[in-house]
């Protein structure tokens, strides 16, 4: 089956970010396809490489990046939500005159159309939020 995954909450504060990861990983291991993981609301904070959790805790961001790299996953951060919350890639930093970027590896920033497309293209769209 082809899944679309939507993550609406940030890491550590809400378990939704963990559950979305666990689901995505399990689906891929079972041989399903994940068309895209789309990050919206505070979910965009899953995509900053600057997080440094304590060493005895899981690193939610790195976990996504590694899963993305391993499976060629399309990890998309919503640009409008990202701009509000300071999640920036090199292009966005340049465009908005910022002195740094912080997007994590395997993530990319794009528009809300990517969310709608995931709804259209996937057999099931799963929304992880509160």
């Amino acid at each position: 089956m082809k899944f679309g995954v939507v993550v609406l909450e940030g890491p550590y504060t809400h378990e939704a970010a963990d559950t979305a990861y666990q689901f995505t990983k399990a689906a891929l291991e079972k041989g399903h396809e994940v068309f895209r993981v789309f990050f919206y609301h505070d979910g965009v904070n899953n995509g900053t490489r600057l997080t440094t959790p304590p060493q005895d805790d899981r690193n939610i961001v790195t976990r996504w990046s590694e899963l993305g790299e391993e499976h060629g996953l399309d990890l998309v951060v919503c640009v409008a939500a990202a701009q509000r919350r300071g999640i920036v890639d090199a292009d966005e930093a340049k465009r908005n005159g910022k002195d740094a970027d912080n997007i994590a590896p395997s993530f990319r920033i794009s528009g809300l159309g990517q969310l709608i497309e995931a709804g259209i293209q996937s057999d099931r769209l799963l929304v992880f939020g509160d």
Binding site: Y40, L112, I116, I120, L125, V127, G129
Partner: protein
């Protein structure tokens, strides 16, 4: 390349202010309107407050985005299901909501109300019919 049209329902459960969910949900609906899908919105729980008249955020420094709901009709988003029980539980009635309308192209562009009051069980049936449910 034509693909089957899917039924999208955006489910709004949260008050318009206090959190950003309602505002960012509306942004999804407006972008989504460009994709020519069969779109509806549901308002339940505190989400019914999103449609109330006379919203005033002046003292809070937060943008009052309620006028944007009036544009939905122009985007062909004209099925706004409001759950009757959620309204009543909050002491609200249809009269407390903005009179949102759309022009019906299948009926000589007559202006018609976009808001449809439905019972909890009717909303359950509507959700059952959807291909894609997005909860905010």
């Amino acid at each position: 390349m034509s693909e089957a049209i899917k039924k999208f329902m955006y489910v709004n459960r949260k008050a318009p202010y206090g959190t950003v969910y309602a505002l960012e949900s509306l942004e999804v609906v407006l972008i989504g309107a460009a994709f020519d899908q069969d779109v509806s919105m549901a308002f339940m729980d505190d989400g019914v407050f999103q449609l109330t008249k006379g919203q005033d955020t002046g003292d809070t420094g937060v943008k009052n985005f309620s006028p944007t709901y009036k544009a939905l009709g122009d985007y062909d988003v004209n099925k706004l299901y409001v759950e009757k029980e959620s309204l009543e539980e909050r002491g609200l009635s249809l009269d407390d909501l903005m009179p949102l309308t759309y022009e019906d192209e299948d009926d000589d562009w007559n202006e018609k109300p976009s808001i449809k009051l439905v019972s909890r069980s009717e909303l359950t049936d509507l959700m059952e019919e959807q291909d894609v449910l997005m909860n905010f």
